[in-house]
């Protein structure tokens, strides 16, 4: 009887893996179709769009660019100058010095002729204490606001910026990002275009600046990074942005806007209580909470996505740093999914509840675990002599081909739509990366994901019990803060 049960379990697990493989293929194929339709429509619409008017129009909304800085003394002045030179009429740059231990603040004060003001800071959203708000006496820097505060992490710094920001839209960016001069105009457009629904956030594509030529704050020549990890990330970013997010955007089910470059409607961000500083995945958590709020309030809304490459950043090329980043991403994902588990498979939340959330749960969060389980299953089959080489290799070939197809299409999309990497050598490098990635890089990514799970279980970072319990509603975060304030 025991042997029967054992073999029955093996059989059932085999079927589950088969169903999963089939599901993965179906999901990626659907995403490919959706993203291509979205990209086609976007390019068509762009043909008839003139961004010239938006810079001076009195109707265009104001934008507060929020950029937290921690120990950025070496580059902060250049970065702020680059931000101040963006082409847009109504915007302010809010730099939040998050308790830097270096000379970040001193350099800002000196370079931009800053003076401490009597700004009446109000913690609408709870943050670490603010030591001062600075403005320049030089009118050339009138758009610049610098906040000096005690260290509290990126989310806390952004919340401080949100409390100070005075414009309708918030652009949350990494201070070391390189932004295209027309980035604000292009990102603001979806907010202005929609008529029947409120656009609450817009995400953008992040480009990889490693090995590229940068002149006057703009990337002038694109080159694929030299290291294999760098190349892998180029392909991965294309996959994530041009395929994944475009596809989700098509069905208004986008759940993640990159923390390095995202635009938000300030009133909604304030209503939900800003970023949640107790999670390491604050960017994703905010978007999910904003979505949840709009659903709970019954307000029609949309989260937009702009596929133009408007922001570049340096990605880690060392294995150690990349593994830490992936570990953090995994913990952030787990925490967000845990905090908002009520959304999962809940038709009340539309496409996000029924599609994106389960997708993130099964493929993004549990993907590494499932892959390891698949390996264990194969080993068990080998041990009991029930291993079918034909079946195993068929599945392996199938998944490898899927990986090649998805990656190739992402690169092809980029080539057809934008064509940033013009050099054929770069294309060859990317093709080799696509071919080798499943064997060379993917196992490492899986391992880093597993470590992320393990660290989450151990309770590294995050707000353990709260995260396990989850938010009962989108506005619960505000209530939590009020409680902690009164205690």
């Amino acid at each position: 009887m025991y042997s029967f049960l054992f073999f029955l379990i093996l059989e059932v697990v085999g079927w589950i893996f088969l169903a999963l493989s089939f599901g993965v293929i179906l999901v990626y194929m659907t995403m490919m179709i959706l993203s291509s339709l979205e990209l086609r429509d976007y390019l068509r619409k762009n043909q008839f769009t003139d961004y010239g008017d938006i810079i001076t129009s009195p109707i265009a909304p104001g934008v507060s660019m929020l950029a937290p800085a921690f120990n950025e003394g070496q580059t902060i002045v250049q970065n702020v100058k680059s931000l101040l030179s963006l082409h847009y009429g109504k915007f302010e740059v809010v730099i939040i010095n998050d308790g830097s231990k270096d000379d970040t603040l001193e350099k800002l004060i000196e370079s931009f002729e800053l003076e401490k003001t009597s700004f009446a800071y109000n913690s609408d959203i709870e943050t670490k204490p603010v030591r001062g708000v600075y403005k320049s006496r030089n009118m050339s820097y009138r758009r610049l606001v610098v906040i000096d505060k005690e260290n509290g992490g990126k989310a806390d710094a952004l919340n401080t910026g949100i409390n100070v920001a005075s414009m309708e839209l918030l652009a949350c960016i990494d201070v070391d990002c390189i932004l295209s001069s027309d980035s604000i105009s292009r990102m603001v457009r979806p907010f202005m275009e929609e008529t029947n629904r409120k656009v609450i956030a817009v995400g953008g594509v992040i480009g990889i600046a490693n090995n590229c030529d940068v002149q006057d704050g703009t990337v002038t020549r694109y080159r694929v990074p030299e290291s294999i990890l760098g190349k892998f990330q180029v392909v991965e970013y294309f996959r994530a942005f041009l395929m994944g997010r475009m596809a989700w955007s098509r069905i208004n089910a986008l759940m993640l806007i990159s923390g390095a470059f995202g635009f938000f409607r300030a009133d909604i961000v304030r209503k939900v209580g800003g970023y949640f500083p107790k999670t390491v995945g604050e960017d994703m958590e905010l978007v999910v909470r904003m979505r949840r709020y709009m659903h709970e309030q019954g307000i029609p809304f949309k989260i937009g996505f702009v596929p133009d490459l408007l922001c570049w950043t340096e990605v880690p090329e060392s294995e150690e740093i990349l593994s830490r980043q992936r570990n953090r991403w995994m913990r952030g994902t787990i925490e967000t999914l845990q905090l908002h588990k009520q959304i999962n498979l809940n038709p009340k939340f539309g496409a996000v509840g029924m599609l994106t959330f389960p997708y993130w749960t099964v493929l993004e969060k549990n993907g590494p675990i499932l892959e390891v389980l698949g390996l264990v299953y194969t080993l068990v089959l080998l041990l009991v002599g029930d291993f079918s080489a034909l079946y195993f290799f068929a599945l392996l070939v199938m998944m490898y081909l899927l990986s090649l197809l998805v990656s190739s299409f992402s690169v092809l999309y980029e080539q057809l739509a934008f064509n940033y990497y013009k050099d054929k050598k770069d294309l060859k490098k990317l093709i080799w990366t696509i071919l080798s990635e499943p064997f060379v890089i993917h196992p490492k990514v899986v391992w880093w994901g597993i470590k992320g799970h393990w660290d989450f279980v151990k309770g590294k970072g995050g707000w353990g019990s709260m995260i396990r319990q989850g938010f009962k509603s989108a506005e619960e975060k505000k209530a939590l803060e009020t409680e902690s304030n009164t205690q």
Partner: protein
């Protein structure tokens, strides 16, 4: 997973019977069974006897262990329990002549198999594997005993199905991916070819266009015959879609840069070459991006004769088409008023407002636009756009009209109106501002507070002083205090000194308002 569980359980129970019957592993093929019994020697209760036809089989008869008795058509042996008595006789030869007995009673072969199975499953006997191995060569032995694994055919159906599904998926996957790749490659190759062709045609159209524009005057172009044009722009090329598009783009590009007679020449050319008809043809198609292309061309080339066709598209369900059609109407129509905009049923987005505003600002310098018409629209977003236009175009003459409408407007419209009053310095609207200060709508209240700063009077100040004492929301309190400060600085200081000790926020607010670097923050 919870939803999958019932399905799994059904799967489990449907397989139970099948799997448990396979644990015994007693061969059902008689020669194999006999071979097994020969190795086993004896099984309690199980016997056998042999039936032979005449003449007696020499090998069997020679076996002295059997006791043969004559019957009607042959010979029958006595019942034996020792299967080794069968000696080295071939199992195939024996199998047709051997009959099983259980407790000396003849039984069918299947009953004997079942009997052995029961003994095995109860653990009464163990069926051994061949200890000495086959007596013959392995190949002939294997032929006689087909491979039957212990757990063989456990889930034969499902195993086949799984490989079938995987194969199916791979095939579908291949077909899908290959077709997607082909589509992408075709698209890319078409794009490259089109780009090359466009480049070639572009070079071909530059010279004729330059010659016509700079060597001929407008009348000469008007008088040119088709044959004359043929020498500049061959007819067969004009029928080529790519050539036409390149020519259209070139003419539109030049039209944007040129002025006066050159513009007229280009328009004449555009009409004479039949390109205007091409543009109008586009707006009659169903694909929105082609319609949009047509609208852009009509707009850029000032083809006002086609305005009736354009007007039909001003209320199109497609955002781009609608926007471009309204832009074209605003640009080209010298006589028409804004009624087409007033009657729009779709909400006006900020993007559209921005585009229309640019055109209206320009057009309003040349002719009078009846902006007031927009106030009558049933569409709230159009009405709001009307109030914005009054503000941006500085139409003070319309303030009276707005004033009469104001009390009956929705809160969102009132807020927009307050912005307009503030911008135009409409001090006579102080009562309206004061009434809005009593609103429970935070957005309207905030706008009223901002307007009060410039438009307010003594009565406004009293309202604001009353409000600030009750106000809990910090940002609103800051704005109210700012307005109080602007209206009467001494009352502001008096209020701070009176309530500053009980409300710490007030002191911070005071410092903030008095800091000149924070004048706009």
């Amino acid at each position: 997973m919870r939803r999958l569980l019932p399905l799994l359980l059904i799967g489990v129970f449907s397989l139970v019977g099948k799997v448990s019957s396979q644990e015994m592993a007693v061969p059902t093929q008689k020669p194999v069974l006999i071979e097994l019994l020969r190795i086993q020697h004896e099984i309690p209760g199980l016997g056998y006897f042999l039936l032979l036809e005449d003449p007696l089989d020499s090998t069997l008869v020679q076996n002295s262990g059997f006791k043969w008795t004559r019957y009607d058509s042959g010979w029958v042996s006595g019942i034996k329990e020792d299967f080794t008595l069968l000696g080295a006789v071939d199992s195939d030869t024996v199998s047709s002549r051997l009959n099983f007995t259980i407790l000396s009673e003849p039984v069918a072969d299947s009953v004997a198999v079942q009997y052995i199975s029961q003994l095995v499953s109860r653990g009464d006997i163990d069926l051994p594997l061949a200890q000495d191995g086959p007596q013959e060569d392995l190949v002939s032995y294997a032929l006689k005993s087909p491979y039957a694994p212990v757990y063989g055919n456990r889930f034969s159906f499902t195993a086949d199905l799984k490989i079938f599904i995987v194969t199916g998926i791979i095939l579908t996957f291949f077909v899908f991916s290959i077709s997607m790749f082909i589509v992408m490659l075709v698209v890319k190759s078409r794009k490259s070819k089109k780009e090359a062709l466009e480049k070639e045609y572009d070079q071909m159209v530059v010279d004729p266009l330059t010659n016509l524009l700079f060597e001929k005057d407008l009348d000469e172009i008007r008088k040119m015959t088709e044959a004359d044009f043929e020498s500049f722009f061959p007819k067969h090329l004009l029928q080529d879609l790519v050539y036409r598009e390149v020519l259209i783009d070139r003419i539109i590009g030049l039209n944007k840069k040129m002025k006066g007679e050159f513009k007229e020449k280009l328009k004449t050319l555009y009409n004479r070459l039949g390109l205007a008809k091409v543009s109008v043809g586009k707006i009659k198609l169903s694909q929105w991006h082609i319609v949009a292309e047509g609208l852009v061309e009509i707009n850029e080339m000032d083809l006002f004769e086609y305005l009736p066709e354009v007007k039909n598209l001003t209320n199109s369900s497609n955002f781009q088409v609608r926007s471009l059609a309204v832009s074209a109407m605003l640009n080209l129509s010298e006589k028409s008023d804004l009624s087409f905009l007033r009657d729009q049923t779709y909400p006006l987005s900020q993007w559209q407002q921005m585009k229309y505003l640019r055109i209206i600002k320009f057009v309003s310098q040349q002719r009078s636009l009846k902006i007031e018409m927009l106030f009558e629209s049933k569409n709230k977003s159009i009405r709001i756009f009307g109030y914005k236009l009054v503000r941006i175009l500085g139409r003070i003459d319309l303030l009276e009209m707005l004033s009469s409408m104001a009390p009956n407007l929705e809160d969102e419209e009132k807020a927009e109106l307050l912005k307009t009053y503030l911008e135009l310095g409409a001090h006579m609207e102080v009562d309206f501002v004061n009434s809005c200060l009593e609103s429970k709508n935070p957005r309207l209240l905030m706008q009223a507070v901002k307007a009060a700063k410039v438009l307010g009077d003594e009565s406004t100040l009293e309202i604001l002083l009353g409000k600030v004492a009750e106000e809990r929301e910090f940002t609103t309190k800051l704005q109210i205090m700012r307005s109080i400060h602007e209206l009467d600085k001494s009352r502001f200081e008096q209020f701070i000194s009176e309530y500053g000790n009980s409300d710490s926020d007030l002191l911070r607010v005071r410092d903030h308002i008095l800091d000149p670097r924070l004048a706009n923050v």
